[in-house]
């Protein structure tokens, strides 16, 4: 079983996603799952399709910018879109990216993707300005990114698509409960981002699909 991890790092947001996906890598390594990485400026359509063909990953995990119909590389060019999404056939895909669930995700399922987890609107990250160079130490962003990491790590642990998504929803609920009992000055922006992202998180395809 293998994971194809794709992560861009062309701006602050994608850098946060890049760094925070390290926890998912650790989970995969713990379970001795083969990890194939496509990262930074190496990402393009040709390389992506080559890796898919060569490694036949069970799980494709994309961290970066998305649109309703595509995933974007470091130069904000499409490397996967509705015309080429059949390459996700047979995989479980998780897009930690904006917007891609309702069009790209739906099309992916039609073209044979087992399940596609993603977001219906923009993915917001509230963060501390001074932590930009140390994303893993950012307590505001942690509350937001830990929850979405649970989806990927849940799948790696053998949970179904629905179970993995639900674990993220449950984590969001617990985090909301903690925050609404807190006098932390960052509560409001953190809550706003968590609620927004959690409301837009969903999946298409087989709820029982698992790795």
């Amino acid at each position: 079983m293998s994971l194809l991890l794709i992560r861009t790092d062309n701006d602050t947001q994608t850098n946060y996603l890049y760094v925070w996906s390290e926890y998912v890598i650790q989970e995969a390594e713990k379970r001795q799952i083969n990890i194939f990485r496509l990262e930074s400026n190496d990402i393009n359509k040709k390389e992506f399709e080559k890796r898919i063909r060569k490694h036949n990953p069970a799980f494709v995990f994309f961290n970066g910018h998305g649109t309703k119909t595509s995933f974007l590389d470091n130069n904000k060019e499409e490397f996967l879109n509705v015309d080429s999404v059949s390459c996700l056939k047979g995989t479980i895909a998780f897009a930690r990216a904006c917007d891609s669930l309702k069009v790209l995700g739906v099309e992916a399922i039609k073209k044979g993707c087992a399940s596609f987890i993603g977001y219906k609107q923009k993915f917001w990250i509230a963060r501390l300005h001074e932590m930009a160079s140390r994303p893993l130490s950012d307590p505001v962003a942690r509350a937001i990114l830990d929850g979405s990491n649970l989806i990927a790590s849940g799948l790696l642990k053998g949970k179904t698509t629905r179970e993995s998504v639900n674990s993220s929803h449950e984590y969001a609920a617990k985090t909301i409960l903690r925050l609404i009992s807190s006098k932390d000055p960052f509560t409001s922006p953190t809550l706003a981002a968590i609620i927004h992202n959690d409301s837009n998180l969903d999946f298409e395809g087989d709820p029982f699909a698992k790795l």
Partner: protein, 66 residues
């Protein structure tokens, strides 16, 4: 705003307010006459039927909160 609508929105507000977590009741939810209004301030104004109570309720209705 007609009196009947005011009373209806007032009742709706109190019901909704009761479910706002305590630590979020200082969150700003309206701006009337250049003054920021939190859930708590809105409660007092609406409960006391003050001049700005109607304006607060109008804004909350406009936003879809009520």
């Amino acid at each position: 705003m007609e009196k009947e609508e005011f009373l209806k929105l007032k009742a709706k507000f109190f019901k909704i307010f009761a479910n706002v977590p305590l630590n979020l009741r200082e969150e700003i939810i309206a701006v009337v006459e250049n003054k920021s209004i939190s859930w708590l301030v809105a409660y007092v104004e609406i409960e006391q039927n003050t001049q700005i109570a109607r304006k607060i309720l109008e804004q909350l209705k406009k936003m879809g909160v009520l």
